[in-house]
């Protein structure tokens, strides 16, 4: 059982996560709605290069132009996928944008001022990881990743949006109300994620971490698992990672800093609200494997 203070801390953290994430979720659904109305399918297809390698490289840096918190990205990417953006490009965007953007660079730099191998390492390895994962998706994933019910719904909707009889005002109203529905649907997963995350924050004692931190292999896996469970925002995880400078190696900290923004409990749940289970499992395995291999190799060669 947990003590009263622990419960209070749980509540403080739970509400903190919810309050911090809500703005970005809201922003995400409204950006998705704007995309629906103002950006045509052709425009999306024109921006992204056909060649997969070029495509993933461009997608990596889209986050600089269109940064969104992890929570806001999922509805936007769903909309982009609907509009014809290829899956591998959309996923590279989801994975890289929480790390490859100026805000996260600034906060990583602030937390690790005297360790350029960490703040440059985070960026370099994140790009490498995102490109690799994107290419794996390109070559190996077949089928529709999105939940089918959604697909039919959206498809029907798109048809109607070309219907000249439908009044423009009604269309906008509809879109905004759809965005609201989307917000509510995704909000459920956000709350669930926040709830579980807050619980984990309060329960895991530090001694447990320290004792695991020592083995080479174990430390990477451990930091990744920790990042997964803590589900921190990429703008503030650097400060938490900095507190582990004594206990963990640079490459396992890099694993924490790259894995967390790409895959964690909170955004797994949010992905499940939009993607099929089969896809979520696939991508989770790929992300985990790629990041583990890259950071482990980093510790060997650098």
């Amino acid at each position: 059982m947990i003590s009263e203070t622990q419960f209070q801390n749980f509540k403080t953290i739970f509400l903190g996560i919810v309050l911090e994430a809500l703005p970005f979720l809201l922003l995400g659904v409204f950006v998705a709605a704007i995309l629906q109305v103002f950006v045509s399918d052709e425009a999306i297809q024109r921006i992204i290069p056909r060649n997969p390698i070029l495509g993933v490289i461009v997608a990596c840096f889209l986050g600089i132009l269109f940064p969104l918190c992890e929570c806001g990205m999922i509805p936007v990417v769903r909309k982009l996928l609907r509009k014809g953006m290829p899956l591998y490009i959309g996923m590279v965007y989801i994975l890289s944008s929480p790390i490859i953007n100026p805000v996260v660079f600034a906060s990583t730099y602030t937390a690790f001022r005297s360790q350029p191998d960490i703040y440059w390492g985070r960026f370099g390895l994140a790009i490498l990881a995102a490109i690799t994962i994107g290419l794996v998706l390109y070559y190996f994933y077949k089928g529709n990743p999105l939940k089918t019910r959604d697909y039919h719904h959206e498809h029907a909707h798109d048809h109607h949006s070309h219907d000249p009889h439908l009044k423009k005002r009604r269309k906008y109203l509809d879109l905004l109300s759809h965005a609201s529905d989307e917000f509510f649907d995704m909000g459920r997963f956000l709350l669930l994620g926040a709830f579980i995350t807050a619980f984990i924050h309060v329960i895991i004692p530090r001694e447990l971490l320290v004792s695991i931190g020592n083995s080479e292999l174990g430390s990477h896996l451990f930091m990744m698992a920790f990042a997964y469970l803590l589900s921190l925002c990429s703008t503030s995880d650097a400060f938490v990672a900095a507190s582990f400078l004594n206990t963990f190696s640079v490459s396992s900290l890099l694993a924490f800093l790259i894995y967390g923004p790409m895959l964690d409990l909170k955004n797994t749940l949010m992905m499940l609200s939009v993607f099929r289970m089969r896809f979520v499992v696939f991508i989770s395995v790929v992300i985990t494997a790629v990041i583990f291999i890259i950071t482990f190799a980093y510790s060997y060669f650098i």
């Binding site: 529905d181 459920r188 703008t235 400060f239």
Partner: protein, 372 residues
């Protein structure tokens, strides 16, 4: 699903979303947003209150339309409305949990229990140094230093000079306000040697004639000061900061640069031995401490409560045990360096301690302007 049932669902949703909107407004009015969110994020949360209200309104309109069966949606899909009573109960009940917790339980501060959970940081944001490592003046990043890049090609001396000029301010330097930055500057390339960890001997400095009347700091003293705080490009700001702090009679730790000050002090802790320091925070104890030891600490928040980390200074006071954990205190004492749990840490030998009221802003935040 009948339109009436859908309508009820939409109305529930509208109420819940409006509830969140009002909760945020409630926090703003009570001035308790800072229990959950860092100040730099507050604006987004405030805007969200408006956004949520708008979303709630759309859901209410939708509900109205459904009730009167005038909804002209272009598709008849159901947007995942829960089908069963139980499903509805779970979904909406779940949304109610944070609302109920938020409205009906008091806002609490993260304190000792949380700090014990996360582990106290005693060295600011530095790597905690183990005892028995060679005395490296605590510079964490050991790198062979090359001359820093400069656009104008000016010498490293001039770079240092401009840097110090920017930092020098009458309030922080404990000397005459006529102090000229040039006086502080005279140490030459000794600072930018290839091995920043060794304190160079004073042999090559050409002090030059200072055109300004000498103030309380002679050039030889300045030279000494600079040599006391050697640095590399990564710790330059901390070195300057430490130099400023060193010249104060009593070092105070301001809330605005709490973490940064602890970091700078820890980096050069041996140099501060014997200096007086004053700080405030809540009392934190952990098992390894003896009866007279505690930490004066603050919880630092970067973004939201979930990423909060505790920072503190180890302190020693004979009658510490009469104060309970989490008591807010202001302490004055002398700086020492000690071995705690195998780490070399700065410690405060407390000479005076008094309880204070919880500060207006109990959490501290990283200072993004430090060093700019």
């Amino acid at each position: 699903m009948s339109n009436r049932k859908s309508a009820i669902h939409y109305c529930f949703r509208a109420l819940i979303l409006a509830g969140f909107s009002f909760y945020i407004v409630h926090l703003i009015q009570q001035d308790s947003l800072n229990y959950y969110i860092a100040p730099r994020m507050e604006i987004y949360v405030k805007l969200t209150a408006i956004g949520l209200y708008v979303v709630a309104a759309f859901q209410a309109i939708r509900g109205w339309q459904e009730w009167h069966s005038t909804a002209t949606v272009s598709c008849d899909c159901e947007h995942h409305l829960p089908k069963t009573r139980l499903g509805s109960l779970i979904t909406y009940g779940f949304f109610l949990v944070p609302l109920l917790l938020g409205f009906f339980t008091p806002d609490t501060l993260l304190g000792s229990t949380y700090a014990a959970q996360k582990g106290m940081n005693y060295s600011g944001s530095n790597y905690q140094q183990l005892v028995d490592t060679p005395n490296s003046t605590s510079i964490p990043y050991n790198e062979t230093l090359e001359k820093p890049q400069q656009e104008t090609g000016a010498s490293s001396d001039e770079l240092l000079k401009t840097v110090l000029e920017d930092r020098a301010s009458p309030t922080s330097l404990n000397s005459d306000t006529n102090e000229q930055p040039e006086d502080l500057m005279e140490a030459s390339t000794t600072q930018y040697s290839s091995d920043p960890l060794q304190v160079q001997s004073d042999d090559t400095t050409d002090l030059g004639a200072s055109s300004v009347a000498d103030t309380s700091m002679s050039t030889a003293e300045d030279d000494e000061l600079m040599k006391m705080f050697p640095y590399d490009i990564f710790t330059k700001f901390n070195a300057e900061h430490a130099m400023e702090l060193y010249q104060l009679d009593v070092i105070e730790i301001p809330e605005s640069t709490f973490i940064e000050t602890l970091t700078s002090l820890d980096l050069y802790k041996e140099k501060f031995i014997g200096k007086k320091m004053k700080m405030s925070g809540f009392m934190f104890r952990e098992e390894l401490m003896n009866d007279s030891q505690f930490a004066v600490s603050r919880i630092a928040m970067a973004c939201c409560s979930a990423d909060s980390m505790p920072f503190g200074v180890l302190a020693e006071y004979g009658r510490a045990s009469q104060f309970e954990d989490d008591t807010w205190v202001e302490v004055v004492g002398e700086i020492e360096v000690t071995d705690f749990n195998g780490y070399e840490l700065m410690m405060l030998k407390v000479t005076s301690i008094e309880t204070i009221r919880e500060p207006e802003s109990p959490y501290v935040y990283p200072n993004y302007e430090f060093g700019l």
